[in-house]
């Protein structure tokens, strides 16, 4: 048996001045969010996946000596090999180069659409929410009526009229895409504008735009960020859908959507031509979705299990 020395039975001294001491360092809101986010394994996995995908989109096309647009009619529809890592398509173009070049286009479409939605949505929703009253009523009525327009039908219609292209696709996606963001921002602003710090800013003589951009928008950043992350995959989805209908980016440009829809037609004989673009579309959408969900859980502690 272990000997316990007598000294260990001494009463512990209680120092009352220590009781009020904060033992842990205080955490800012975003530090707290980042801790919660990092605990979410699935979301972290998604984030790592996104970093890899973006890295490959930037550097992937330089890793192979083949170009995304050069035809090589002597080696068409090759299976993956040491020469062509992901095989070749029906014009002998290297699928590896096309995949990462397509990643740039697909990710660009997603990001651009999301950022334009963000810009219009924050302005529209912020003004409607902050002004309130008649302005709010009119602005949100307009948004409601536009919201009722079936999204994909409008996008298809615009693509038919405006013609295929990267710019027209982003325009078609954002023409009603911003409404969701506007609604969320408006809801947040309505909630926040009656807080004391807004009143304090007003009494100090801060201008409306200063209150908007220094006080309201930063405090509404959480929901805005979540909406932004979830807009990107839906834009990539829409891009793939349009490509399948023959309204994608024009040749010889490659996007994951156009590659996958070409791959679908060749599925029976050359399955790898669908496999690569399809896998990366799914991985990207998956990654953005889990990161978005993870962010939402991290931002709102009440939702924790």
């Amino acid at each position: 048996m272990q000997q316990i020395p007598k000294e260990m039975f001494q009463p512990a001294s209680v120092d009352l001045s220590e009781a009020e001491k904060i033992s842990k360092p205080s955490l800012s809101y975003w530090k707290d969010v980042s801790i919660r986010f990092r605990k979410n394994k699935l979301a972290m996995f998604g984030l790592v996946l996104l970093v890899i995908l973006v890295f490959m989109a930037i550097f992937g096309p330089y890793m192979t000596k083949y170009d995304y647009a050069t035809n090589d009619l002597m080696s068409t529809n090759q299976p993956p090999s040491a020469k062509h890592w992901f095989g070749t398509d029906e014009l002998g173009r290297d699928v590896f180069a096309r995949t990462w070049y397509g990643a740039r286009i697909s990710l660009f479409i997603g990001l651009a659409a999301a950022l334009i939605d963000l810009f219009i949505g924050v302005l529209w929703g912020g003004i409607a929410g902050f002004r309130g009253g008649k302005t709010d009523e009119v602005m949100m009525r307009i948004a409601d009526i536009l919201w009722a327009v079936p999204y994909l039908l409008l996008v298809i219609l615009l693509m038919v009229i405006l013609g295929q292209g990267l710019g027209t696709m982003i325009l078609a996606m954002t023409i009603t895409g911003w409404i969701n963001m506007a609604r969320i921002v408006r809801g947040q602003v309505l909630q926040l504008k009656n807080q004391e710090y807004v009143l304090a800013a007003q009494t100090l003589g801060a201008s409306t735009s200063r209150i908007m951009f220094k006080h309201l928008i930063p405090n509404a950043m959480g929901p805005i960020l979540v909406t932004l992350t979830l807009t990107i995959p839906s834009a990539i989805f829409t891009e793939a859908f349009l490509s399948y209908l023959g309204l994608g980016v024009p040749q010889p440009l490659a996007s994951w959507g156009t590659m996958a829809s070409e791959g679908v037609q060749a599925l029976q004989y050359y399955p790898w031509r669908l496999f690569f673009p399809a896998t990366f579309i799914c991985l990207t959408i998956f990654a953005f979705n889990v990161v978005g969900d993870g962010l939402r859980d991290a931002l709102d502690p009440r939702l924790r299990k």
């Binding site: 009722a148 298809i156 038919v160 989805f237 859908f241 209908l245 023959g246 799914c282 299990k305």
Partner: protein, 311 residues
Amino acid sequence: MLKYVGRRLLSMLLSLFLIITATFFLMRAAPGGPFSGEKKLPPEIEKNLNEYYGLDRPWYNQYFDYLVSIAKWDFGPSFKYKGQTVNDLINEGFPVSFFLGMESLLLAVSIGILLGVIAALNHNKWQDYGAMIFAVLGISVPSFIMASLLQYVLAIKLGWFPVARWESLQHTVLPALALAATPMAFIARLTRSSMLEVLSNDYIRTAKAKGLSRGQITVKHAIRNALLPVVTYLGPLSAAILTGSFVIEKIFGIPGLGSHFVLSISNRDYTVIMGVTVFYSIILLSAVLLVDIVYGLIDPRIKLAGGKKGE
């Protein structure tokens, strides 16, 4: 209630008017006239054609005529296929699309709810993870890829189902499943989260304390309350199924309205695109209105008189 329905109907008509106006002017802005093909038509024939379709009249007359004809449920002619009207296409294709849509709606709702309930009842167990992995897959895979894979694996490789065409009930299984996959995943996630929330409520504890069996609690108390968010999803769901049908009908060679629409897009048959778009918009807006009314009826907590949209 009546006042609310009236208000919603009015705002729906306004949206519809906006859509019709927008399609009309967009189509006028489309490059090239309806008869500018590879062969140049003799000027007399083009003049006659323009006169026949009323294209020689000023735009406001054409616009007004278009509004009137839509109100009379006439969606106009096709300029690519002579003698065929958009109404013909709708009468021929829509029943097929409607059947397919209903079948996948049923599949999506029933399997989605089932998966969600199973996941919530076995929270953080393998059933939960399994159902959610399934749901994430459904959300991440674009429908045309899902459809081609189902077709390739189940029909071509395994031969369990017919590859394409639209003849018997067996032919409908794969397309309906492919169309239902994404909405099913959404419903499963939605049901799971709302079920988890409901299960933590006090009245569930009361029911347990009363000594009700697990099955009774689940069916009588939990599911009924957990399904409310799913009902709100029915509006977007019908939109998803409708637009999804374009792709699915093309892949499986189904003679529905969706494949006509896709064909008219690749033919640049502007009047058909316009007519079908307006028709689809009418269907969708009515569906959304119907869902909202039903939601108001089944959830007594919602006061319709205020006319406030649920956030």
